[in-house]
């Protein structure tokens, strides 16, 4: 055990305790908020005003700077939820359960955002709001998986049981995601040979992808901030009977 501890800093293990986790996230939060604001503002200004327009799609392609980061984030959020759920299931860590619970609504919202921006982008490019494109469909299914986890969580009253059940479900979903992704891709190519493809260029010029990268990192910071805010609320709510929470509230 002591061998193991040397590999990771002490605060990492302290994250397992709700109280310490509350303190640590409280210290990390301002840094992430500043980074998020800086990155998102720079990224949006750069993307909307300075990045060159696409040679075919003109300015309508600029929605990519919201669409792609949210699509990436929606997928990694599911990964985090399933991994946190597994940690909670195996080591019975309360904080991991809380992280998994906080991930679900954020992930669902971001998946909706990815779908909405995809639809808005689809209108000028493909000529219709919705196309049964493989990527859109698998994002929709990801949203369904999120909604299932949220529904299961809210249906079970006991917090511990709810967290465990939701963790099992998200792990089953995690196994299924690659299967769903490939089956949907194959299904699409079976039914309609790739007529609807974005004007794929082999590589974006750096003036285009650098702001995209900034936006992706900014979105991750945004995710970290909203996750920490939700997590802190969750900790306070579940530990409301603990002494330190009472002290904290009495102080204010």
């Amino acid at each position: 055990m002591s061998e193991n501890k040397k590999w990771l800093p002490r605060w990492f293990f302290q994250l397992a305790s709700p109280r310490w986790c509350y303190d640590i996230t409280g210290k990390l939060l301002p840094g992430f908020v500043i980074a998020m604001l800086l990155l998102l503002v720079t990224g949006i200004v750069w993307a909307l005003m300075f990045a060159p327009a696409d040679y075919q799609q003109g300015n309508s392609f600029r929605i990519i700077y919201i669409h792609v980061p949210s699509a990436i984030l929606a997928q990694s959020c599911y990964m985090l939820m399933a991994i946190a759920g597994a940690i909670g299931l195996i080591w019975k860590m309360k904080v991991a359960d809380m992280v998994a619970k906080s991930c679900a609504p954020i992930g669902a919202t971001i998946a909706i955002m990815a779908l909405a921006t995809g639809a808005i982008w689809g209108k000028p490019t493909w000529g219709s709001w919705w196309v049964w494109d493989a990527r859109l469909t698998s994002m929709l299914i990801l949203l369904f998986l999120y909604l299932g986890v949220i529904a299961l969580h809210s249906a079970i009253e006991n917090e511990v049981t709810a967290a465990q059940s939701a963790a099992v479900l998200s792990l089953v979903g995690l196994v299924n995601i690659p299967i769903i992704k490939y089956s949907v891709e194959w299904w699409n190519t079976l039914h309609q040979p790739a007529t609807f493809k974005l004007t794929e260029k082999p590589a974006m010029p750096p003036e285009m992808w650098v702001p995209l990268l900034v936006m992706v990192i900014g979105f991750y910071c945004f995710f970290a901030v909203s996750l920490m805010l939700r997590l802190r609320n969750e900790i306070l709510q579940r530990e409301r009977r603990a002494g330190w929470v009472r002290e904290l509230i009495e102080k204010q």
């Binding site: 529904a151 049981t161 059940s165 089953v172 194959w186 299904w187």
Partner: protein, 238 residues
């Protein structure tokens, strides 16, 4: 030494298998005694398939085109409908707790229950599918593909659905929730199932689809019972 291990094996193996067989027999017997539970999913299957010509179009040509999808969606919904009862009565009368406590591995018990469930829903659905195929003007060449894909696909549906049933067994209103949890997971089976039928209709080789359906079934057989057991333990302890 050798003799001893042999004896141990002889004692252990029948115990494992007899547990499996006992659960299977019990579930089949229960289903046989309550025949309406056995028939309801089949009637539902027939009714859902009837709705499509009424709701969309009775044109034979159109129906022949959508028949694979309609039969598959109807089979999927019928399986889902019967899923809620898989563990519920056992949970309510306490049998499930005894099953969790007994020395036989839960993996096998769960497997036997799912197998019994499949024999009562998936298998009859598969056998009934050609009737629906005829009603929906599915070309004769597609019948083999339809039955083969259902034969390989419905056990996967039962296995995956059992995870949802195990997660919601402790809840009052599990019915709608199961569909929410399980339907997204059914999508790959649906895609390859209908794909197989369409390939059979157009005379393309079936092997790829059948292999994929088989692969999903094997994956389900290996992994789903673990998830079902874990979910049952959580539901019963909570």
């Amino acid at each position: 030494m050798n003799l001893q291990t042999n004896q141990q094996l002889e004692i252990k193996e029948p115990a494992l298998m007899s547990g499996f067989v006992a659960v299977l027999k019990r579930d089949l017997m229960l289903a046989y005694r309550r025949k309406s539970d056995l028939l309801n999913p089949l009637i539902f299957f027939l009714m859902v398939a009837t709705l499509f010509p009424l709701g969309v179009s009775p044109e034979p040509q159109f129906l022949a085109e959508v028949a694979p999808g309609v039969v598959w969606v109807a089979a999927l919904l019928a399986t889902l409908l019967s899923m809620d009862g898989l563990f519920r009565s056992d949970y309510e009368d306490g049998t499930l707790e005894q099953m969790l406590l007994c020395p036989q591995p839960l993996f096998l018990t769960v497997m036997a229950k799912v197998l019994a469930h499949w024999m009562m829903t998936g298998l009859p659905l598969t056998l009934m599918a050609p009737l629906l195929g005829v009603m929906l003007f599915l070309p004769g060449e597609g019948m083999g593909g339809l039955m083969l894909s259902l034969l390989l696909g419905t056990p996967t549906l039962s296995l995956v659905g059992a995870i949802g049933a195990a997660l919601t067994v402790g809840l009052r209103k599990g019915g709608v929730l199961i569909s929410l949890l399980v339907l997204p997971l059914y999508i790959p089976v649906l895609i390859f199932g209908t794909g197989a039928v369409q390939a059979a209709v157009t005379g393309l080789p079936l092997v790829g689809f059948v292999a994929l359906l088989g692969a999903m079934l094997v994956l389900g057989l290996v992994l789903a019972p673990f998830a079902i057991s874990a979910a049952l333990r959580i539901s019963v302890s909570g």
